[in-house]
Symmetry: C2
Subunit: 214 residues, 2 copies
Amino acid sequence: MCSASHPGIATRDRVLGVAITAIGRDGVKETTVRKIAHAADVSAALVLHHFGSKQGLLDACDERVLAVTEAAVAALTESGGNAGVQGFLAIDGATEALAYIGRSMQDGGPAGRTWFARMMEMTLDGLRTLESDGAARHSEDPTMRALLLIAMDLGVILLRPLVTDLFGRDIADPALTERWVREEMDLLSNGVLRTSAAAALAEPATRPPGKDST
Amino acid sequence: MCSASHPGIATRDRVLGVAITAIGRDGVKETTVRKIAHAADVSAALVLHHFGSKQGLLDACDERVLAVTEAAVAALTESGGNAGVQGFLAIDGATEALAYIGRSMQDGGPAGRTWFARMMEMTLDGLRTLESDGAARHSEDPTMRALLLIAMDLGVILLRPLVTDLFGRDIADPALTERWVREEMDLLSNGVLRTSAAAALAEPATRPPGKDST
DNA sequence: CTTGCCGCTGAACAGATGTTCAGCGTAGAG
DNA sequence: CTCTACGCTGAACATCTGTTCAGCGGCAAG
């Protein structure tokens, strides 16, 4: 790594990594400058010395997360691998970036907004392509369909700690990720409900029987 | 309202409501005791007087949210209305409760854990019933299927601010909720992909083509 | 060796936050 | 009326947070 040429740059990068991990895990407000400094084995003053202020640090985090995810997307699309959210989990550093983005989306940060807009755009594009290829059914409401598809994957990421509790291991565990992909493919291909029965159920009360969730 | 018999109880309830709304919107850490007090037009000391500590207030919030949602579930299942997450949005007070639960799920609070477990359980039960009625297809991995269904709905709730930006109005807006239910029903009934094409796509690279999300 | 630069630190400060406490006002009981 | 109980408050305190600043220590240039 040529980035280790100057020790100052190296520790700056380390602080950034620690900050992204901590914020992804605990949120922005909970992650204090002193906690970051302690986890990175430096003084709190140094963190501010490098980034000017906590806001500056957050901006730097946003920038780096966007760069990391951008690179991950490029690598995935080039290798022809699974370009869904699941594909990210295997990429180095992208796991933390994903958690950070999730937090950022809820705190209304700029990185979260940017990424949500981009995901919507890419999903809509993908659906259009699939439809023109005859691989996807037409939807009367493509925006809502794209939102639901994104929400399903992002929901799993946002609920990550609870999902880990549920299965006993992290969703990034390869075996678990495969189960995820398999079931989602099944859902997207065949749905959950038998169409005849679904039609009968849908008529009387606009009721989505897939989940009496609450 | 018989709850106004004692003025102390009334303001206590008001503080609780304000706290739940604020926490659902901004998160636990961001919502300070003084902010809650100001929003409820009381002193910060009174908040602590009623609940002992901020933790006590949070516990009271959990308790109330669980009670509200419990009542909402009962009302929905009794009236035979839409018992999905969408049905909640129309119920008084349940909207704030839902946002609070979303926050609690990410902060690892007990209310969030309890509700996630309950939603999983109810969804699995619902799927079993539908399957034995012949209304739902069998799944090799019911737990994962239930998770995906829950994640899809909870994802929409957790991404609420971004969704509001996307559509220009809140997801609780009846017109938007109807679009949501309609598209989700379509997805659950028919899937997104044409099965023949999906099979062809699935073979080479385990790729979920519904979203090139990233 | 001296000088100056630079990564880095500890101490300090102002503001915010959770929490405590003595006491105010009022309303109902005696 | 007196007195007590209770909802409620303002002021104070210790702690934590972001931020500033003077200065240490090593290292490369002169």
